[in-house]
């Protein structure tokens, strides 16, 4: 019998044989995009520290990825990762968590990390809903959608996360959907190599919760919806706001160079020590 081994299996803990995701979840696609990016850049897993928060997508690196992984409290992975990066400036520090974790309870850390321009790669999986706790409305839930905590339809407006993080000062920010795994992998590679705060907003399907309440259906239907409703950022720039309603703008939103915090701290220490 021939045994076939997944080419990315070498990056996972050998004793972890199953994941915690539901059938059809977008997490698998995003997780593979992350590991492919690492593989294509020929990094070793020990070059990375992964930090995650609370929620389904926070369990991508913990316990799967075979390196130092820090699974933290709800909303705080970016704050933890800031301490990790400042203490280990030569490692790649990647945060993987969801929209509820990073943009609701942890929204303040997200915008301040972008403002500081600290060299973190943040993979924010946006499924537009609280999946793990049973389908509650999120700050990313489209207005009007009926969820278990918005039984008469959400009355609130939703966050447009990537532009918000761009405004806050990120060096790199891109948004893709799970229908675009190759583009997402390319962006993750750029984000890892970017010296500065980098965000990948990965629109990801949650068929069990979001698919049900939105009546979009199963995973395949949701992926088709991502395909139909995605608009490239270049095209979107020439479109009227009304024409963009209900659309997902994808692509690179920012890619710039500017002073980065962990390096600035290192330079300050060196300068001060030399003066002694």
């Amino acid at each position: 019998m021939t045994v076939s081994i997944h080419p990315l299996k070498k990056y996972t803990r050998s004793h972890i044989t199953r994941t915690t995701t539901c059938p059809g979840c977008g997490i698998g696609i995003v997780s593979q995009a992350i590991l492919r990016a690492i593989d294509e850049l020929e990094f070793n897993m020990d070059d990375f520290v992964f930090v995650s928060g609370i929620g389904c997508s926070a369990w991508i690196p913990s316990p799967l990825y075979n390196t130092d992984t820090l699974h933290t409290t709800h909303g705080r992975p970016i704050a933890f990762a800031t301490g990790v990066k400042l203490g280990l400036p030569n490692k790649n520090v990647m945060v993987i968590s969801g929209d509820g974790d990073l943009a609701a309870i942890g929204g303040n850390h997200l915008i301040h990390a972008a403002r500081r321009n600290i060299n973190l790669t943040v993979i924010l999986l946006n499924n537009g809903i609280y999946g793990m706790t049973g389908g509650q409305t999120a700050p990313t839930t489209p207005r009007g959608l009926t969820t278990i905590t918005s039984p008469y339809g959400t009355m609130e407006h939703n966050f447009d996360i990537t532009p918000m993080v761009v405004t806050a000062g990120a060096s790199y920010a891109a948004r893709w959907t799970t229908y675009h795994p190759r583009q997402m992998t390319r962006s993750i590679k750029k984000a890892i190599q970017k010296k500065g705060f980098a965000l990948i907003e990965a629109m990801s399907q949650c068929p069990v919760q979001y698919g049900r309440v939105s009546k979009l259906g199963k995973a395949v239907d949701m992926l088709k919806d991502f395909k139909v409703n995605s608009v490239k950022i270049n095209k979107a720039r020439n479109m009227e706001p009304e024409a963009l309603l209900g659309k997902i703008v994808i692509g690179e939103f920012v890619d710039i160079e500017k002073a980065e915090l962990s390096e600035e701290c290192m330079n300050l220490r060196r300068k001060m020590m030399e003066a002694m």
Binding site: R13, S14, H15, M45, D46, V49, V51, I54, S62, P63, N66, T67, D68, T69, L70, H71, T72, T73, R76, A79, F80, A81, T82, G83, V84, K85, L86, G87, L88, K91, N108, H109, H112, C265, L268, R269, K271, M272, M273, A275, M276
Partner: protein, 383 residues
């Protein structure tokens, strides 16, 4: 005295908050995160200037939650990490104090306590957080908290806090207050080689975390510090001794809570420090922190008046010095508990002492202003 010396040896006349910052430097602290708050700001202000000169990093965060989280993150990469705040900041940090407990993270938390509840009076000291630091985070756990009575002890006990944090892989509190934080007194900083600090043990390489015991050892597991290729698995969820998440096995759940508690309780004789000056005393004035100085002055006055009064001071408030209080209760007739609050440690003291002697509580005449010794004496005379 050189401006760039690592440890500023010699005699100084400075604030308690200054002493705390210098204690951290003397202990080898190299990462501090904080958010401005009265009456604790001077500690962070000084460290912002001092740390880069000793190859360390200071980070001013967006809030106290960010401060404690980034300090914990830094501790996991091998830094000697600290955060500093006051009551409102402790309230915000509570969830992640529990994280540090659960993941066995060495961390020093300076609480320069202030007058509350709520915004209260920022610049006035009150021993307001004595219970919230021990019981404020959700879940069941033990904590270490030290109580300095002077700027000198804000130096000495900050060093001890680092030593305990590193030795036991736990968060350790220094419970100062606005009064001694802003008080200036003589501070003697000894030569660097005379400061003894315990260092954390680091885990050894293995193929998998399943081949190591990284957590839940009552004798303190070596820490799988990040960046060394140890492939550590650290989680806030219930976990086994390898750090692997386990949300189904009741025996693992039991150990997850019990062993970090036992780690502290089993070592309590090494951790607990008290100052017992009650030989031949019939009355013991029991206190901690700044109020201890009122107690000592009152005992002096009382002895001049022929009363057999002694003092008993808790330098360690948590783990609670139960054994020492029980012993004291058996040797005195009356125990008067003095605190600059409405009696936060009192129930714990009374529970250990009431079987053997009479116990009562006396707060200051005016909350926030430590007891006038004459006031304590008049209470003793009325007794």
């Amino acid at each position: 005295m050189s401006r760039n010396k690592k440890v500023l040896t010699g005699t100084h006349f400075e604030m308690g908050n200054w002493a705390c910052a210098e204690g951290a430097i003397a202990a080898g602290c190299n990462f501090v995160a904080g958010y401005p708050i009265t009456p604790a700001s001077e500690v962070a202000n000084r460290l912002a200037a001092r740390l880069p000169r000793v190859n360390g990093t200071f980070l001013q965060t967006e809030d106290e939650i960010g401060a404690i989280c980034s300090a914990i993150g830094a501790s996991w990469v091998g830094c000697k990490a600290m955060t500093v705040t006051s009551g409102p900041g402790i309230s915000l940090m509570q969830e992640n104090i529990g994280f540090a407990v659960a993941t066995e993270t060495p961390l020093v938390i300076i609480d320069v306590q202030r007058f509350g509840p709520s915004t209260g009076v920022p610049s006035v000291g009150l021993a307001a957080d004595m219970v919230q630091v021990a019981r404020g985070s959700h879940g069941d756990y033990q904590i270490i908290a030290l109580s300095p009575e002077s700027p000198q002890e804000m130096f000495d006990l900050t060093i001890r806090a680092f030593s305990l944090a590193e030795a036991y892989r736990v968060p350790v509190f220094l419970m100062a207050d606005g009064f001694i934080g802003h008080m200036r007194e003589q501070i003697v900083i000894p030569e660097e080689d005379r400061t003894k600090i315990k260092q954390r043990k680091i885990a050894e390489q293995s193929v998998s975390v399943l081949d190591r015991r990284d957590f839940l050892d009552v004798k303190v597991a070596p820490m799988p510090v990040f960046g060394l290729g140890l492939k550590a698995h650290v989680t806030s969820s219930c976990h086994d001794e390898h750090g692997m998440r386990n949300l189904s096995d009741p025996a693992v759940m039991h150990t997850y809570v019990m062993n970090p508690i036992k780690k502290i309780v089993n070592h309590r004789d090494d951790i607990v420090q008290v100052e017992d000056d009650c030989i031949d005393a019939e009355v013991a004035l029991v206190s901690y922190g700044t109020v201890s100085r009122s107690a000592r002055a009152a005992a002096g006055l009382a002895r001049k008046n022929g009363l057999k009064v002694g003092t008993f001071r808790m330098l360690t408030c948590w783990p609670f010095p139960d054994k020492e209080i029980r012993q004291l209760a058996e040797n005195v007739e009356y125990m008067l508990v003095l605190e600059n609050n409405t009696g936060q440690m009192y129930p714990y003291i009374k529970a250990e002492a009431a079987h053997a002697c009479r116990v009562s509580f006396l707060g200051p005449q005016t909350l926030g202003q430590i007891h006038d010794p004459e006031y304590i004496l008049s209470h003793l005379n009325r007794r």
